[in-house]
Symmetry: C2
Subunit: 157 residues, 2 copies
């Protein structure tokens, strides 16, 4: 079981990579982000500033998130997330692009209100084959603690 105490500020981890097919891109977009840029072949060919089909930014983000959840041991003492900051889609993701995903622990704080948990903040970054960042975001997640209130020198949430 992986607890709050097992995350170290500054620690970076490669989470693996993903790539999306045309079919997957259209299927995801039809369900969750049916903007013409991701689903309308004819209009894309005529008008898209990207020169072809691109994935919904949400699809890329969810593909990163899956790797983030799977990147740790199966049993993590995670207790949900209060939110996410700074979602940035800096470059388009095309079918077949190989996106490599890294996460870095940027902050951790014990909870004052609920002494048996703490908040871990990670930055997640996806890069394409050329080493250019295509997306990034900062995700907060609550974790159970191994020892209640053991590191009281840290700032409280």
């Amino acid at each position: 079981m992986k607890y709050y105490e097992d995350y170290e500020k500054g620690e970076t981890k490669q989470l693996g990579s993903f790539s999306l097919t045309e079919e997957e891109i259209v299927e995801f977009a039809e369900k969750y982000d049916p903007l013409w840029l991701h689903v309308d072949e004819e209009r894309i060919e005529k008008e898209s500033p990207f020169g072809g089909l691109i994935a919904s930014g949400w699809h890329s983000l969810m593909s990163c998130h899956r790797l983030l959840v799977e990147g740790d041991e199966d049993d993590i003492a995670a207790l949900g997330s209060p939110g996410v900051e700074n979602v940035t889609w800096s470059l388009p993701v095309y079918p077949g692009d190989e996106i490599t995903v890294t996460r870095t622990v940027v902050d951790k704080r014990p909870s004052q209100k609920v002494p048996d948990r703490g908040l871990v903040t990670v930055e997640v970054v996806g890069e394409n084959e050329d080493g250019n960042v295509v997306l990034s975001y900062v995700s907060k997640m609550y974790f159970g603690r191994r020892e209640d209130g053991a590191d009281a020198e840290e700032d409280d949430v």
Copy 2:
């Protein structure tokens, strides 16, 4: 066709509502957010601080986003999104909860670099049947412009 000029700062729009079944919650989570809180029935029953299955926050967010994209005319001159801010999951969403979604235009700015587009920023809020906010986020989207550089008095992006 809905252009940059057709969004007005302060304008609020009800986008409709959604609710998620147990099956949909588990299916989404298995694909994109396989945290035990959303997929592991046995562990949820024993350990979940939420007293039962809850939807992935991302699932609720994507359900809002679908309504946001569908909430305007089919033909919107949208050109993609540079990012999202302040994703906040303030309350859990349980199977069958009816979540009503509203969006408010909080900012709009013409682009200086690309004069035929502008950036529209909307805040999206989801509320449950009790009128409590369960999630909110701030989404930025580029739109094509009807007239190039027509409102030069606004701040440039």
